[in-house]
Symmetry: C2
Subunit: 351 residues, 2 copies
């Protein structure tokens, strides 16, 4: 029997999740785990993936008929994806010391069915296995299928990518510029330093949305009518999306991937989109998109990334932001996502 | 030489256009028209088409890089489509007394190039030629291509149509139910009387958006998850569109055809769309759409309508709202569109 501390979802948040004070979102508890039974495995999550999407899973507005996963439940551990080590096993599929991919959530240990786990293969070239949580995992697949299948980008396209210094956005920039060779790739990020990094990944230009001249800058980067954006890969929603409606080319495509600008607010208080008539007059196409619809084709993306890595077209250095800390700090690290505190994929390493 | 009174665009409106008072939108003037030169025709518009889209053409926000037609100019006659009679002709293509389709605008007479005119053929079965302005004209084509090509409706679809008692919406209802045979057709209109009429056109149900229980009614008409709408044909934008985001089925399609709810306000004061995350989580597809992109295929729709008429599947009685009045009343009649004052296509007959 193993004792495990867990971060429990205590109160579904209506605004920014909070760790302390009144109605804290999370609560640290300790529980006795049962011994693994046949075909079960005891795992220890070591690298925890921090994803903006988790905020949606714990929203009081999340509804099983609408969300693409079962909404999180109060009283249960905060759901999260992680790379975990096998500690004890009653399954022939895994041996002690194996690295596995698990949806075990914010817990020190978990007893899970072996069939819920996926093996984590070694990466060539001395690359860190944590890349399976980001560039080479779900995040990379999101960028790949969002651009190739949903956005249908071609080398003739001018493309704008918001959240460009984030996990998905930084992959988008590289796929658009280095794999497809888009005519112009414009990133949007939240600090000048991040913008520089995005440009180092291949963006022709990256604009700081916190600059007072941001809208003028974005308009200047997409001068009409020849320079309007053909594709907008949207990770943020809100005010930037609303402004982008006015910068899209006729028959332009918007890939609606994320809306972090409004994740910490109930929908009735969200920033409303006001430039809707642009969607009509410019005949814009918009597609909402969740990567799970494309998982059966994951290998296609993985092969593309392998080739990009071999050809030096995919830069993973600087694309991971690993925060090493104690289990107590897990929620605090996750909250960095909503402060713009990370560059690339934010990973928690539980010390 | 002919004298012609004209309704001139005097001031581009930032809210509801007004005929009198301060900064009136329109001004009645009189002008001397030159005699027609070679290949020109003098026409008298008799049946004027009243279209919500005209409001967009006169917006101060209309920009030549964005709008699908040249924005209207202050000092020039209000642009409008009309059926006109040929009064005098210097063209071999038309003779005196011919009926023609013209974009001549709000004027008593106009001298126009013959090549800008289209002939108006006689309709079989004693049907009024004014149908060429509505059901059998651009309005009907809008409904047809919006549903068939943009919305790609099938008989398995549950479809919601806003503005269902309007010119486009009333055609949509009939095409969805009588031509395609959609599983369920739900209309939205602004009075109980209109709703009854929409149901008489074939809608399974029509909801009054002015009812205090409207949102509950619409939710009950689209019960999740099996009864969510597969297609939403949107003529209105604004609050109804925002609510419809929450009633769409996974992978549902929205045909963004109109946004009359916000036509009389500058975009910064428009009703903002707040339920955007639904677009992502339900993987909704949205396509903005203007009928001009489909005009080369107009005959396809006209053939379909002819067959529907022959088979008794297209009801045009009650689908026209003809207001007979003097030329002075032209703007007042057009403004009925924004008061919900019309059922079906609103046509002005200049007495």
């Amino acid at each position: 029997m193993v004792k495990a501390r867990q971060w429990i979802l205590a109160n579904k948040p209506t605004d920014l999740p909070r760790i302390s004070g009144d109605q804290p979102t999370f609560k640290l508890t300790e529980t006795d785990l049962p011994d693994p039974k046949d075909d079960e495995v005891l795992v220890k999550p070591v690298y925890i993936s921090n994803d903006p999407a988790q905020r949606g899973w714990i929203s009081p507005e999340a509804h099983p008929d609408r969300l693409y996963v079962a909404p999180a439940k109060e009283g249960e551990p905060m759901p999260a994806r992680a790379l975990a080590e096998v500690v004890e096993t009653k399954s022939g599929s895994f041996k002690k010391g194996d690295w596995v991919f698990s949806q075990c959530g914010w817990t020190e240990y978990a007893v899970v069915p072996a069939k819920s786990l996926q093996p984590v293969p070694e990466l060539e070239g001395g690359l860190s296995k944590t890349l399976y949580l980001g560039a080479l995992g779900g995040t990379g697949l999101t960028a790949y299928f969002g651009l190739m299948d949903v956005g249908k980008i071609t080398k003739d396209d001018i493309i704008v990518i918001s959240g460009a210094a984030g996990a998905t956005g930084s992959m988008c920039v590289q796929i658009a510029k280095k794999l497809v060779g888009c005519k112009k790739v414009i990133g949007i990020a939240g600090t000048d330093e991040k913008c520089k990094w995005v440009e180092s990944l291949g963006a022709d230009q990256c604009l700081n949305y916190k600059s007072s001249s941001f809208k003028e800058d974005l308009a200047a980067a997409t001068p009409g009518p020849e320079g309007f954006a053909n594709v907008y890969f949207d990770n943020v929603g809100g005010e930037i999306l609303d402004f982008m409606f006015t910068r899209m080319a006729r028959h332009g495509r918007i890939v609606a991937c994320g809306a972090i600008a409004n994740y910490n607010t109930m929908s009735d208080r969200a920033t409303g989109l006001k430039n809707w008539f642009e969607v009509i007059q410019m005949r814009i196409q918009i597609r909402g998109f969740i990567v799970i619809d494309f998982l059966p084709r994951a290998n296609e993306a993985r092969e593309a990334f392998k080739k990009m890595l071999q050809e030096g077209k995919l830069k993973v250095e600087g694309g991971e932001h690993v925060v090493k800390g104690s289990f107590e700090d897990v929620p605090k690290t996750w909250l960095k996502l909503f402060e713009g505190g990370n560059q690339g994929k934010l990973v928690t390493e539980v010390a």
